[in-house]
Amino acid sequence: MAEVTKLIHKYLRHDKKFPHVWCPGCGIGIMLGALIRAIDRIGFGKDEVVLVSGIGCSGRLPVYVDFNTLHTTHGRALTFATGVKLAKPSLKVIVIMGDGDAVAIGGNHFIHTARRNIDITSIILNNSIYGMTGGQYSPTTPYGMKSSTTVYSNIEQDFKISELAITAGAVFVGRGTVYQARLLDSLIEKAILKPGFSVVEVIAHCHTQYGKQNRLGTAVEMMEWQRDHAITVEKAATMKPEELQDRIVIGVLVDKELPVYQDEYEKIRERAKGAATN
């Protein structure tokens, strides 16, 4: 068994019934691998980590791994995560969401959790489609593309998840693709280590739904598209906006400092106790 596979097995739940729910060729497994490698490198104990998810293909991720795992309602993962983190700040809270989860039904929670700067890491798998329910268009389905609810054409503009996170106040925002797995490892590691609200947007393919409906080919072909369209943030800085059309800018997009919610709340507790004794 390859070293990398051994490492994954160290974190899998062996009493869980496999196989998993994902289609052969899906990118979620690559994201899970990157997450496990990042956590292993950081050295967190399994008891310290709380992995929270919403609903959809990505929502099924936590069940397979041996952490404290919480599979919540659709779009609400960040609200549950907020409660866990504030009630027990020593826990490392990582949230897995899909694009529909994070910026459609959970869009309001996403911007407000970012704004509060609670120490939570969000990893968002963006495959531009609602995969589990049969390929309906999501807020990140590009204009002009097809889905099972836009069979004529999608007439809506798509959300840019990372840009939304930056505007909402996330202190760390990184974007990668499942093709560039090593970059994903390092982005997730940096995001977890960053105090405050961090976001990693993972561009992935759904060949089963999105790919099929738009004739984009196999999983491999869709990953090759990621390779050919990804461009580093450094290189993108030298290019004109029109040259960046259709490009996926990858790397660390934002890394800044802002007061972290739990630290600020600890100060509130001190003030409140002072007020109570006066």
């Binding site: 795992t69 866990v84 504030l86 020593s90």
Partner: protein
């Protein structure tokens, strides 16, 4: 074998005579019960609960957070409870509607938490600062799917305190969300509340696993129907999900696992009916007419009962404290003497339907319904008594 409970008695050493609103008494009860986390969204007429807890929770090392909406509020409350902290939220009709989604999650994942709903008239934005009792059925059936519900009410400021503690105790004991329904009259009315010296409040804390982590089966069957609950971060790593799950917490669609699971969710409440169903009887032994009431209407009903007795009409009062599970045996008890029941309530007849269901034609059941935002007065109930007697 029953797991050893972490039941304990706590001393309250100070004598207090307090002039409190119902909402303030809810806060005092919550803190006494050990609540250390509150997440909420501003809404009338429940706002005082948020405001006061935003001051008091950080003083005792707890956490208050104002969320972006009521969906998020209950989500955060459930998350905090899973991390081991007793948690609550407070809201009114429109917010309670938004909470139905995560209320179902707390039910299926068996997460203790308390939701106080200071009822307003509805539907929709309705009557924000007027009293109503129109969420009785929503509290029972508001979230989708077949589920049990524990719903308590309060008719005095002191009861707001006691029933908040009881709500936490039930939620911890039965691993379920508990809804406390109060009305705007009780929530905003100021009334003397005495906590006598050395008074003890019985506080129940969730039963934790005593087995080593590798033996822990998070949703295991046992005689009480309530599995031991491990908090996140204490060495018992397990999976919590809103999907139907097997005893280990993993999603399942096997009929032989789903059936027993849903049956246990119901059984853990139904086999404790006698403990959960609280009701008070006032002069019902010889009553020919019994008023069945709850919340602020029970106060008017009591006055009407006294005045009717002065007129020589034998009237009693059955005050419901637990609304769900419906106190069937209490109604059956008053049916032994009374041939007429009057059910005044500030809705179009939500509890009177239940009374009629239990009655099965044994007595005449008269509803007295009012939905105009004003309370039902003793005189209105007395008039109804004289009409039907």
């Amino acid at each position: 074998m029953e797991k050893k409970s972490q039941n304990r008695r706590e001393k309250k050493s100070h004598l207090k005579e307090l002039l409190l609103q119902g909402n303030e008494a809810v806060v005092e009860g919550a803190l006494q019960a050990g609540c250390r986390f509150f997440a909420g969204y501003p809404i009338t007429p429940a706002t005082e609960i948020s405001e006061i807890l935003s001051i008091k929770l950080p003083q005792v090392g707890g956490t208050f957070i104002q969320m972006e909406d009521e969906i998020a509020s209950l989500g955060a409350v459930i998350g905090a409870s899973l991390a081991g902290v007793k948690s609550m939220t407070a809201t009114s009709g429109p917010g309670f509607s938004l909470m139905q989604e995560n209320l179902g999650f707390a039910l299926i994942a068996e997460v203790p938490c308390v939701i106080v709903n200071v009822m307003r008239g509805g539907p929709s934005t309705g009557l924000p600062t007027f009293p109503s009792q129109s969420d009785v059925m929503q509290a029972r059936w508001g979230t989708h799917g077949d589920h049990p519900a524990i719903v308590l009410s309060a008719s005095t400021v002191r009861e707001c305190y006691d029933m908040t503690i009881r709500s936490f105790n039930f939620s911890e004991k039965f691993r379920t969300p508990v809804v406390l329904l109060i009305d705007e009259v009780v929530a905003h009315m100021r009334e003397k509340m005495v906590l006598s010296d050395g008074e003890e409040a019985e506080i129940f804390n969730r039963v934790k696993p005593t087995v080593p982590p590798e033996w822990y089966i998070p949703y295991e069957e046992n005689p009480s129907g309530v599995p031991a609950m491990a908090n996140f971060g204490e060495g018992y790593r397990y999976h919590v999900t809103g999907l139907t799950h097997d005893v280990r917490g993993f999603p399942t669609s096997r009929p032989d696992e789903i059936g027993p699971f849903i049956a246990r969710l119901h059984r853990k409440i139904s086999q404790h009916f006698s403990e959960i169903q609280m009701a008070e009887f006032f002069q019902t032994e010889d009553a020919e007419i019994t008023i069945v009431a709850y919340g602020c209407v029970a106060r008017s009903a009591k006055r009407a009962m006294i005045e009717a007795r002065e007129k020589g009409i034998k009237v009693g009062l059955l005050k419901l404290v637990t609304l769900w599970p419906f106190a069937r045996s209490a109604v059956e008890k008053v049916l032994q003497s009374s041939k007429i029941l009057i059910v005044p309530e500030m809705n179009m007849g939500q509890i009177s339907r239940e009374v009629k269901r239990v009655n099965r034609g044994a007595a005449k059941v008269f509803a007295l319904n009012k939905v105009d935002g004003t309370i039902i007065t003793p005189k209105e109930i007395l008039n109804r008594i004289t009409e039907v007697s």
